[in-house]
């Protein structure tokens, strides 16, 4: 909790106490219980306040990053065809609405309209295009290849870079064309339902069809029924180069919904993961942390805490990114498919006024986020997740996501603090290997820090 109305967050994790300055994102460990005495805390707070700590400088420091829609990421979802039926998949919702499919001509037409839109708006930012976020890419891989070739042909005509990238596959069934493409491409992302044993076995077998040089990334939707995270990571890292676990965004009536009980279990599982990591020797630990993928939620918090990255936006959805569905209409991301109130028209009639109604553009515009001590690590709520829970887009809080984020945050702080004690070089080497800035070059002990400024 924030201490009364102060911009100071005091919390405990695994019996240890910490202080966070939410604005500068400096955190400290409190090693003496005496510091927690309210008078002592108030006194130390006042000392540091004189030097600008614990002050909310947001009004002057934050930049408004997205004043208008600047398309740089386009996802085209031509269909919802899949050879699996995962209960957490967001395309399930879409299947209830639409059975249309986009053909190759229509896909090319959408790409052309997107390019025309960028030119019309004098946008020179790079454009990345992907497909099949609502279906299985290997089923219509020939269409992907045709679009790939089409983009290769036309991209020389534009003065901004155009990239195409692959979505994750479930790797259940695919052609040799797909293998050949991936072997050249050098990267394979597999989305795995860990509770589906058949898929687990099939994926492990099928991975052998690709060259060893291909970087293999497992994207693992984390649900409330999963336990033993450390075992899951280590098991999958026997087959993949990196693993990203991230919580599923699901409605309340899902098979394994996020509830108070399941969130408590998740919290315990995260604590166990952290202690399992701390049992490793330094080299194993560093290697394990480096093997957590770019979209892993735990690593997201670890990286943001180490680099003190400040996020005033959650994601580019509806600001720089859009998804186009078989109805040709634009949505902020693939998660909103066919949800009328989130559609912002087509490339022909797009206007920024409509966009502002779809998603408010800045963390500061979300009143409840303003009070949250970890707001700058999170960047705000996921609108897709809120819509799955029938939370109005005008409300800022999704308590499930907020709870999950806080669990990730506290466990990350605890782990970083322990690593700092154990061997700070693990942290600096980790930052160096990841190419992130190491921003914890100050005493993490609160007493020492206060003493310096006293």
């Amino acid at each position: 909790m924030l201490v009364s109305d102060k911009e100071m967050f005091v919390f405990s994790q695994n019996g240890e106490n910490f202080v966070l300055d939410p604005n500068s994102q400096l955190f400290w460990r409190i090693t003496s219980e005496l510091i927690l005495d309210s008078d002592v805390l108030e006194n130390n707070y006042s000392k540091l306040l004189n030097y600008g700590f614990f002050k909310n400088h947001n009004q002057t420091k934050e930049k408004k990053l997205f004043s208008q829609f600047d398309l740089s990421n386009l996802v085209i979802n031509p269909s919802t065809k899949c050879n699996l039926d995962c209960w957490f998949c967001y395309s399930n919702q879409y299947k209830n609405y639409n059975s249309n499919e986009l053909n190759l001509k229509e896909i090319k037409s959408i790409i052309q309209k997107a390019l025309d839109f960028k030119i019309r708006n004098k946008s020179n930012s790079p454009l990345s295009i992907s497909m099949f976020f609502a279906s299985e890419i290997t089923i219509d891989f020939n269409i992907f290849l045709e679009v790939w070739e089409y983009i290769e042909d036309i991209k020389v005509d534009y003065n901004f870079p155009i990239y195409m990238f692959l979505p994750p596959t479930n790797l259940m069934d695919f052609s040799n064309d797909f293998v050949e493409f991936i072997d050249k491409y050098g990267y394979l992302a597999v989305s795995l339902n860990f509770l589906n044993e058949k898929q687990r076995k099939t994926v492990v077998q099928n991975l052998n069809r690709f060259e060893n040089t291909v970087e293999k990334h497992c994207i693992l939707p984390l649900n409330a029924h999963m336990t033993s995270f450390f075992d899951i990571y280590t098991q999958l890292l026997n087959h993949f180069d990196c693993v990203s676990m991230r919580p599923v965004r699901i409605p309340h009536d899902s098979r394994y919904p996020w509830t108070q009980d399941s969130l408590e279990l998740f919290s315990k599982n995260m604590q166990t993961l952290v202690f399992n990591l701390l049992d490793l020797n330094d080299e194993e630990l560093l290697q394990m942390l480096l093997s957590l993928g770019s979209s892993d939620y735990f690593v997201r918090y670890l990286d943001r805490i180490i680099s003190r990255a400040k996020y005033t936006e959650r994601c580019p959805a509806g600001k720089r990114a859009a998804a186009v569905n078989p109805d040709f209409r634009l949505y902020p991301c693939s998660g909103f498919i066919e949800i009328e109130e989130y559609s912002f028209g087509t490339f022909d009639d797009l206007n920024n006024a409509d966009l502002n109604k779809v998603i408010s553009s800045n963390l500061n515009s979300k009143p409840e986020c303003k009070e949250c001590p970890i707001r700058f690590y999170c960047g705000g709520p996921c609108e897709d997740w809120k819509s799955k829970l029938n939370i109005s887009k005008f409300e800022s809080v999704n308590h499930i996501e907020c709870t999950i984020n806080l669990i990730y945050f506290k466990n990350s702080i605890f782990l970083i603090s322990k690593l700092y004690e154990k061997n700070p070089e693990i942290l600096t080497n980790y930052a160096k290997e990841k190419g992130i800035e190491y921003m914890l070059s100050y005493p993490l002990n609160f007493e020492d820090f206060v003493l310096f400024f006293s």
Binding site: N23, A309, K310, Y311, T312, P443
Partner: protein
């Protein structure tokens, strides 16, 4: 020269001419010279509070 006081990667000390020096002890770069210690401490506080505003730059969410 007075004893160096250390705050993580940063140190402050008083040099022979009476200036309070703020130094990065890792790179040995002199960050600034100040007439009084309070200003030197303020400089370190200011550096520590520097956080660039960032935004996510990937579609992975």
């Amino acid at each position: 020269m007075s004893d160096k006081e250390k705050c993580g990667d940063f140190e402050i000390f008083k040099d022979e001419n009476g200036w309070w020096i703020v130094e990065n002890s890792i790179t040995n770069d002199i960050i600034g010279k100040f007439q009084n210690k309070e200003d030197a401490l303020n400089e370190i506080a200011s550096i520590l509070q520097r956080v660039e505003d960032l935004s996510e730059n990937e579609s992975v969410c």
